[in-house]
C-alpha cells in the first residue's frame, strides 16, 4: 500500500550498496536497471536521434506544441490511472471523451450557425455546460464502478460494454435536432476562447489556456491521491482488496468513487477537446484510452495494483507526446503510427510485468 513501491534511499547510498555487491550480483543489478528503465532509455535515444535529424523538433514552438498536447491528454490519463491502481483498466475512456465533447459542442454552437443542432437554444453559460458534461461522465463512471464492485466483474468486460453503449449513445445523439449525424462545428467564440485562448506567450509563441486548467487538475488529483483518506483507500484496495476490507475500508464505495472520479476526468477532457478541436464527431476520442493507458504504464502506474505517482503519469504523458510529435517530424505515416503505439503499449506492459517478477 502506498504511493509507490520504489525502494527508499538516495542515489549515493544505492551506489555505495552497488559497490559492495559480488560480480554476479553487480551484473544482475545493471541488467535490472537497464530492463526496468528500457522504455525511458529508448525514448531518450529516439529524442536525441530525431533532434539531430530534424533540428526543428526541439524548437520553441515545437516544445510548446508538445506541452499543449500533453496538457490536453493529461486529464484522461489521470482518470484511467485510478482504474489501473485498482489493478483494472478502463477502455470506455475514449468514448466518454467523445460523448462529452459532442454534448458540450452541441450546447455551445453559435446562435446564427445554419447547421446548429438546437436552433432555438441560446449559447448557454459555460459553467452550466461544464457541470452537465461532468454529470454525464460521473454517471458513466458510476455504472462502471457499480458493476465492477458489486458483481466483481473484471473492469475490462464492464468498460468494454460501456464503451459500446456510449458509442451507440454518441451516434444517436448526433442524429438529434438539426444535426442528422453531421460533425458538430460552428462553436461559439466564448467556448473556443475559454479553452484555447492565449494564456501567455513565450518568445512570441502562445501557450493556450487549457494548459493552466490541466495543471490545476493535476494538483487537485495529487491532493486527492496523497492527502485524502479516499486516496489512501484507493491504494489499499489496489494492493490487496481483502486486506483493505479487513482493515475497515469500504471497498465497494472506494471502487465506485474511483470510477466516478475517472468519469469526471474524461468529461473534463471531452470539454477541453470540444473547444480545442472545435469540430466533434462520433470519432472524437477514438482510441484515446490506448494512449492514456500507455502513458500511465510508462509513468510507473503498475497493473499489479496499488502503485502509482501523479508525477509519473505527467512524465508518461509528456514522453509519449514527445515521441508522437517526433515521429510526425520523421514523416511516419498515420498507419504505421498505430503499429508503433501498439508496440509501445506491449513493451511498457512487458517491462511492468518484469518488475513484478523481479519483486516476486
Amino acid at each position: 500500500m502506498g504511493e509507490s513501491r520504489t525502494s527508499g534511499g538516495g542515489l549515493f547510498s544505492r551506489f555505495a550498496e552497488f559497490k559492495h555487491l559480488s560480480g554476479n550480483d553487480k551484473r544482475r543489478a545493471v541488467s535490472d536497471l537497464i530492463f526496468n528503465n528500457a522504455m525511458f532509455i529508448i525514448i531518450a535515444i529516439a529524442i536525441v536521434f530525431i533532434a539531430i535529424r530534424v533540428p526543428e523538433f526541439l524548437s520553441l514552438s515545437s516544445i510548446i506544441n508538445i506541452v499543449s498536447l500533453t496538457a490536453a491528454r493529461l486529464p484522461i490519463a489521470l482518470g484511467v490511472a485510478g482504474a489501473i491502481v485498482l489493478s483494472g483498466t478502463d477502455i470506455s475512456a475514449g468514448r466518454v471523451v467523445g460523448l462529452t465533447a459532442c454534448i458540450a459542442a452541441s450546447l455551445l454552437q453559435m446562435t446564427d450557425y445554419p447547421k446548429k443542432m438546437f436552433p432555438d437554444l441560446p449559447v448557454l453559460p459555460l459553467i452550466v455546460v461544464l457541470l452537465a458534461v461532468l454529470a454525464v461522465g460521473a454517471v458513466i463512471g458510476l455504472i462502471n464502478g457499480f458493476f465492477v464492485a458489486k458483481f466483481k466483474l473484471h473492469p475490462f468486460i464492464v468498460t468494454l460494454s460501456t464503451q459500446l453503449i456510449v458509442f451507440g449513445a454518441v451516434l444517436m445523439y448526433l442524429m438529434i435536432g438539426n444535426n442528422n449525424g453531421q460533425t458538430l462545428s460552428g462553436l461559439d467564440p466564448s467556448y473556443t476562447d475559454f479553452v484555447r485562448g492565449t494564456l501567455f506567450r513565450v518568445g512570441g509563441v502562445a501557450v493556450p489556456r487549457y494548459v493552466l486548467y490541466s495543471a490545476v487538475l493535476t494538483v487537485i488529483m495529487w491532493f486527492i491521491w496523497n492527502k485524502t483518506t479516499f486516496g489512501k483507500n484507493m491504494f489499499a484496495v489496489g494492493s490487496n482488496e481483502e486486506a483493505a476490507n479487513v482493515s475497515g475500508v469500504n471497498v465497494f464505495k472506494t471502487i465506485v468513487l474511483v470510477f466516478m472520479l475517472a468519469g469526471v476526468m474524461y468529461a473534463v477532457t471531452g470539454f477541453i477537446e470540444g473547444g480545442r478541436i472545435a469540430s466533434c464527431s462520433a470519432n472524437t476520442g477514438l482510441n484515446y484510452e490506448g494512449d492514456a493507458i500507455a502513458a500511465c504504464v510508462i509513468g510507473g502506474v503498475s497493473f499489479v495494483g496499488g502503485t502509482g505517482k501523479i508525477s509519473g503519469i505527467v512524465t508518461g504523458v509528456f514522453l509519449l507526446q514527445l515521441i508522437f510529435v517526433g515521429l510526425n517530424f520523421l514523416s511516419v505515416s498515420a498507419n504505421m503510427l498505430y503499429i508503433i503505439k501498439g508496440l509501445i503499449i506491449l513493451t511498457a506492459c512487458a517491462i511492468d510485468m518484469r518488475k513484478y517478477l523481479a519483486r516476486k
Binding site: S31, F35, A38, I42, A46, R53, S87, G88, T89, G238, S239, N240, E242, A243, V246, S302, F303, V304, G305, G306, L327, L330, S331, V332, S333, M336, L337, I339, I340, L343, I344, L346, T347, A350, I351, M353, R354, Y356, L357, A358, K360
Partner: protein
C-alpha cells in the same frame, strides 16, 4: 479447534498466475524492443 489462517497475500493484480523466469522475460522484452526500434526505423525511412 484449530483456527484457519487467512491468506491475504497480494495476488499480483492483472499478472496473477504469471509463471515465467526473469531470463525469459528479459528475452521477450529484448525482442519487443528490437521490433519496436526496427518498426520506427522502417517507418521513418531511416
Amino acid at each position: 479447534m484449530k483456527r484457519e489462517k487467512q491468506s491475504i497475500k497480494n495476488d499480483g493484480g492483472l499478472y496473477r498466475g504469471v509463471k515465467m523466469s526473469l531470463r525469459t522475460a528479459d528475452i521477450i522484452i529484448t525482442v519487443l524492443v528490437a521490433v519496436l526500434v526496427a518498426t520506427v526505423l522502417i517507418a521513418g525511412n531511416i
